[in-house]
Amino acid sequence: MARHPKERRPDLGGMTRREVLKRSVAASLALPGAAALLEACARPGATSEGSHANGPGAGKYWPAGSPYPLARQDSPVTWKLWRQPIKSGLAPEKGATLQIYNWDSYIFPRVVKEFCAAYNCKYQITTFNNIDEALAKMRTGQLQFDIFFPTPDILGKLITGKLLQPLNHSYVPHLVSDAWETYQNPFYDQGWHYTVPYAVYTTGIGYRRDLISDAQIRGMSNPYDILWDTTYKGKVGIYDDYREAISMALLKNGISDLNTGNKNYINQAQQALVSMISAVNVRTSINGAYIGIPKGTYDVHQAWSGDMVASWFYTPKQDMKTWQTLGYWFPSDRKGAVFNDTITIPASAQHPVLAHRFLDWMMTFKNAMLNFSWNGYQPPQRKADPTELTTTKSSYTGEPYVWPWLADAVVHESDFHTGYFEEELTPQVDALWHNAWQAFNSGVS
């Protein structure tokens, strides 16, 4: 018996999965492509409303109505294996074309080329511009990628939706031998059942060292205020990303919970952001840090550490004097926003053994550092002593991995204990953040 439409469960947006199924089935009979629609209804994506014991994983923080536990630094999540990993000891597939699905320009093609030379395969890198697009395409089931680079905050969706396959650790020994120990048990995937880490980075402030001296910004009581400093009016930028921008405003206001659902905190952050519009004529961009600052479009911009490390490639004049104008600030007590990417293997991968080998390749010190030299994003490698990254020269560029005056951009393993991780939000809290972002874009405080 169908429920009455007025009888709604508020936290699921008005419909339970059963209702959705029933209605969709009814609809499918009334529209062409009924078979297709029935298939769509049966697609592996939604979960049952059953108890948490049947859920896709276990974790302390499991909000009501959520199909899976949400990972937090203090509430780690262990994901269940929804199917067995591939068997050990298999030979890599021959004559394959490795399908990689990654952000644009985020992996050094040469690293992939060398992998393919070693394993006798071809490769194709498909890129996405935002994670929603990636999710939508992956869910259609029509595209079979072997490697996918998600951020940890969508792991819940991916694993519940059975889009990722569990890893067989015997193929990826270099994670244990070469990568930071913390990644054998990251809080978002305890026991590394589904992921290996890709790049680690912090979010701070990039600035022109010839206009703002290192001493000046480090001497400020609240260095985040430099983005509100009217001296740089017209040359200030923040990222065009609702999480990053609002998080930074939260940190400026002294709030350290970057996953907060507190309406007051979010409102204050929104007001702070809106005040930027009149104070400094702020602009939003994606590439403002690594393209805009070298080019002179921005004097100061919110920046990821990897962006500033790589920014020296983009200065108009390629000389030491110009490179020394690029600066990066992160709190000295390392209490700021930290993040990392992951590499995973989709469930529909056609070449899983090769994919595992690729993960191992990326965990190997030599290859990870070569990738680092090209894209500027530090890999969590044990042998890469953070204190030596500013002095060791990269074999690819011939210059230090990180310029000495960008020492704040080097990420330490301990940052993941002192720093704040942006994680997945419940839909209601997410909506709050979105509304704050839309309000900022409309100029309404």
């Binding site: 529209l31 062409p32 492509g33 297709a36 629609l37 298939e39 769509a40 399908q99 644009d104 320009s105 093609p109 040469r110 194709q124 890198i125 498909t126 890129t127 511009n129 697009e133 939508a136 395409k137 869910r139 259609t140 029509q142 595209l143 994606i286 590439n287 690594y290 393209i291 490639f313 983009y314 108009p316």
Partner: protein, 320 residues
């Protein structure tokens, strides 16, 4: 067809002495010159040339920058073909014609554009012909939908097609097939508008004359109506090709993998990331392909209408 001022015999009235066309002053004096209704308007001329310069100069500069020897997009640093054939330092995988990814993207661009052109234009032309003669609510409704699909922002068309293919018509796969269907849908209104406008000015006399002389309806269409529409049809081909090869919104949503992403999407990706002259080279390539197609169209037109070719004015009349 109307004749314009410029088709009149070119007579320099000033040399004929004081023969005032209006008023009684000689055109040699400033006031006379001002009052001369046959002089070319200087202001309008200046404005027109200024507009053309404003419109095209940035593009010429952009084409020039694609041959920049440095990596800057705004400052000229010397001539080099590194972004076209070489191995620029900023892009280790190679320049436009060297990198396999960019080459695949170029081929996909051309493939999509040609296929869309050859599907959308016949459909649109047939629709325009049918609609101009068939009255009623159904054709009016379809006509409205066509126009609506034309003015609605393309991102909506792209997303709705993506959702439609992934939720309902699941047998349509992402990739070239899906991209083609979406592109044709978006482009079909172009030939409809152009051909319809042309048909409004043709009138029914020609077909009537043909059928009066014994032609069957099909023959009347084929031998009388279509040849009159050739210029409009060729223009539609050129415009649909141009619009499709530059499209980056719809095809992005419906692409299946890197090998189904055309060059326009790569340009869009470049524009969000690192701007190097590589993007100029890619865009210049697209521009040249379109120009080639347009030139072929013009040459074809001249060949087809060899016997009837009149002055340039007639040809340009027929275009719009």
């Amino acid at each position: 067809m109307s004749k314009t001022v410029s088709e009149r015999p070119r007579v320099d009235r000033r040399s004929e002495g004081p023969v005032p066309p209006a008023g009684s002053r000689s055109t040699r004096t400033p006031l006379g010159w001002w009052r001369n209704p046959w002089r070319r308007p200087r202001i309008l001329a200046t404005l027109t040339w200024a507009y053309l310069a404003w419109s095209l100069l940035p593009v010429l500069i952009a084409v020039g920058i694609s041959f920049n020897s440095g990596r800057s997009n705004s400052v000229w640093q010397g001539f080099s073909t590194q972004w076209w054939w070489g191995h620029p330092s900023a892009d280790p995988s190679g320049a436009l014609f060297v990198s396999p990814e960019l080459r695949a993207a170029m081929i996909q661009s051309l493939r999509l554009s040609f296929l869309t052109m050859f599907i959308a234009v016949p459909l649109g032309v047939a629709f325009a012909i049918g609609i101009s003669r068939w009255r009623g609510p159904v054709p009016a409704g379809a006509n409205f939908l066509m126009l609506f699909s034309f003015v609605i922002p393309e991102i909506i068309v792209g997303i709705s097609m993506f959702l439609f293919f992934t939720y309902l018509l699941k047998f349509v796969h992402l990739g070239t097939g899906g991209q083609l269907l979406a592109l044709v849908t978006y482009q079909i209104s172009y030939p409809v508008i152009i051909v319809r406008a042309r048909m409004l000015s043709i009138g029914k006399e020609y077909e009537e004359a043909a059928t009066d002389l014994g032609a069957s309806p099909t023959q009347a269409i084929r031998r009388v109506l279509l040849p009159l529409l050739y210029p409009a049809i060729l223009v539609s081909f050129a415009l649909v090709f141009a619009d499709t090869i530059d499209d980056f919104i719809t095809v992005r949503y419906l692409s299946a993998g890197a090998n189904t992403e055309p060059l326009s999407v790569k340009i869009y990706n470049f524009s969000r990331g690192a701007l190097t002259p590589a993007i100029n080279a890619a865009a210049t390539f697209l521009l040249f392909s379109t120009l080639v197609v347009a030139v072929i169209g013009v040459l074809l037109y001249r060949r087809i209408t060899r016997g009837q070719r009149g002055q340039t004015q007639e040809m340009t009349e027929h275009l719009t």
